[in-house]
């Protein structure tokens, strides 16, 4: 089962490698990872998406907590949360496909962030499923390059409310 785990850490050199070393050393899997400083510049927030059975996840969380530089670990499974990821896609766009690319971009509410005679670069934000659908639609046209940021998550304030997206 997939889990998004947010990890609040000291914003210090070497902390990322402690976290990553823990995963590789113990054979845990990292599917995506994003790291950035928080409002408090002394701390950074990581979001790691990972898979594993209950026992593995339990170990991952405990082992993360054991690291001296880790302040807080939250597993979002079973919680109501907003999940977002951003993707940049550079796609071939000759005269015959330019309109089609823009139509798909419009349907997904993606933005054109760069343009040339032979290509568009699109950016899109959404959850994993939306981004995957977007990539699937663009693939036949010819993706030149693409990059994903990895998932970031935030807990919803009103836990009872249905997901908006």
């Amino acid at each position: 089962m997939k889990h998004a785990i947010s990890v609040l850490v000291d914003n210090q050199a070497g902390v990322l490698s402690r976290v990553i070393g823990l995963f590789s050393g113990r054979g845990f899997n990292i599917e995506s990872l994003s790291v950035a400083p928080t409002l408090d510049p002394e701390k950074s927030q990581m979001v790691i998406t990972t898979t594993g059975n209950e026992q593995v996840l339990e170990q991952i969380k405990k082992q993360l907590n054991k690291l001296i530089n880790v302040i807080k670990v939250v597993d979002y499974v079973g919680r109501n949360f907003v999940e977002r990821e951003m993707i940049l896609v550079k796609i071939k766009a000759k005269s015959d496909t330019r309109a089609e690319v823009l139509r798909i971009a419009d349907i997904f509410r993606a933005k054109v962030v760069d343009v040339s005679h032979a290509s568009y670069t699109l950016s899109l934000t959404g959850d994993k499923e939306k981004l995957s659908g977007f990539v699937e639609m663009l693939s036949p046209i010819g993706i030149v390059d693409f990059i994903r940021t990895g998932t970031v998550v935030m807990e919803r304030e009103m836990q009872g409310r249905r997901k908006l997206t």
Partner: protein
Amino acid sequence: MKKITGANAFIEALRCEGVKHVFGYPGGAVLDIFDAIMDAQDIGFILTRHEQAAVHAADGYARSTGNVGVCLVTSGPGATNTVTGIATAYMDSIPIVVFTGQVPTQLIGNDAFQEADIVGITRPCTKHNYLVKDVADLARVVKEAFYIARTGRSGPVLVDLPKNIMSSLVSFKYPEKIGLTGYCPTYKGHQGQIKRIVSLILKSKRPVIYAGGGIIHSNASDELTAFARKSGIPVTTTLMGLGGIPARDDLSLGMLGMHGTFAANMAVTGTDCLIAIGARFDDRVTGKVDEFAPKAKIIHIDIDPTSISKNVKVDIPIVGDCKIILECMSNELDNHADILEELHSNMQPWHECIDEWKEKQPLRYGKGGSIKPQYVIEMIEEIAPDDTIISTEVGQNQMWTAQFYRFQEPRLFLTSGGLGTMGYGFPAAIGAQVAFPDRTVIDIAGDGSIQMNIQELATVVQYNLPVKVMILNNGYLGMVRQWQSLFYRKRYSHTSLAVSPDFVRLAEAYGAVGIRVSETADVGEAIKKALSVNGPVFVDFVVDPEEDVYPMVPAGAPINNMLLV
């Protein structure tokens, strides 16, 4: 405030931590510190002959005293040589702080002479580590290093000290408080869980306590023994837990696991309530994990949450310090005096069953012929004073010691359990002897292991540390040969030590005393003679070359499936 150099601030920080002894080896990157330490008359420096030995000595010092052991080495190869020692301490949760020199900060990353990324290298085998990049951080880092090493589940911490930091000036002030937001170990156990544990225990009929190194680390052996006696529950210990309950106590089953006693392994297999305290269900203990304590409800008491339900699913976990929790459990027993009576009578058949196992299958070995290594160990126990500290190397010598030397108290047995580091015992004995100059310290060694840190003969002679090394010389890497004998059709691939030095003359060459024993009848006299020498002694016991360690559980088998003598 008057400014002092980083090196002097470092020495002051050690003083603030109450450090009395440092084990180490000098080099270019730590010249400033060595210059400062020369004037620190209150800090004894012990120059080992290899950095690995310096770490093991600090480790032996820590295990025998319970205080943090300290080690100081140079950058690059000095630092990388400490890795085995650090990993050894990490696996056995031993509180040590290793200070390594580093090239000046402006050269870090430049592949400078004697540069190694020791913080990167030791990240997976330290509890935590630091690179000091600003001399203003030095005092705080040293304080945190000692604090992290000795608190919670103790362990090794490394601090990397660049050369320019040690020569920079700083106004020294040792911080009073620790400010580690991400680190706050749990000591007090959850009261509700303690009640649940005790009520489960009181309902059981065949309970067993499985006690590990955590008992030793938290100084909980009195509490363990008291709880066992009050409840009447038998106790088996791991290798690391030996001495946690007096081995000659009626309730002691001895060690469990791969080379555990018959009674201990049968009891754990048959128990309906396994109480694991400060132990981590290591594969050498559990054997085939699915069939470990198959009929039992499992209680697990440990200070490290990651140890719980890591290898074996636990029914009632409780995170905290063994000593505190055992005290609470004893008190809780008092609240149920009537049910306790019932437990005692319910356990009667269980005790009879255990006594029968003990009687039918005691630890034993064939007598006659050449010297039996087990006999040497029995004689050492008989002759050496009660407070003798015993270290071992790794392999058969270690297992025979664990089986046949009956440790009555904690902190008398120093052995590399988790990592299984050959070459550990001799330097560890040095550390213990430095801590306790007036006590007898004996390293029980094999002819293979002893050569892995044999250069320390120079150290014991230089400081006149009267360590006694008892070499069980069978001409083989005995434990590996045993496996080859049992599981590889006696194909002794590279386990015969065809050439070894003459240990007697080698000891003499270093200025120590050497004694050789070839006859069983001379064993006792030789041990007495060795112990009477006021200085280091090597005793070379020429023992039966093909003696094996039994009982033995083949790898991957359930632990009630033992090969017996």
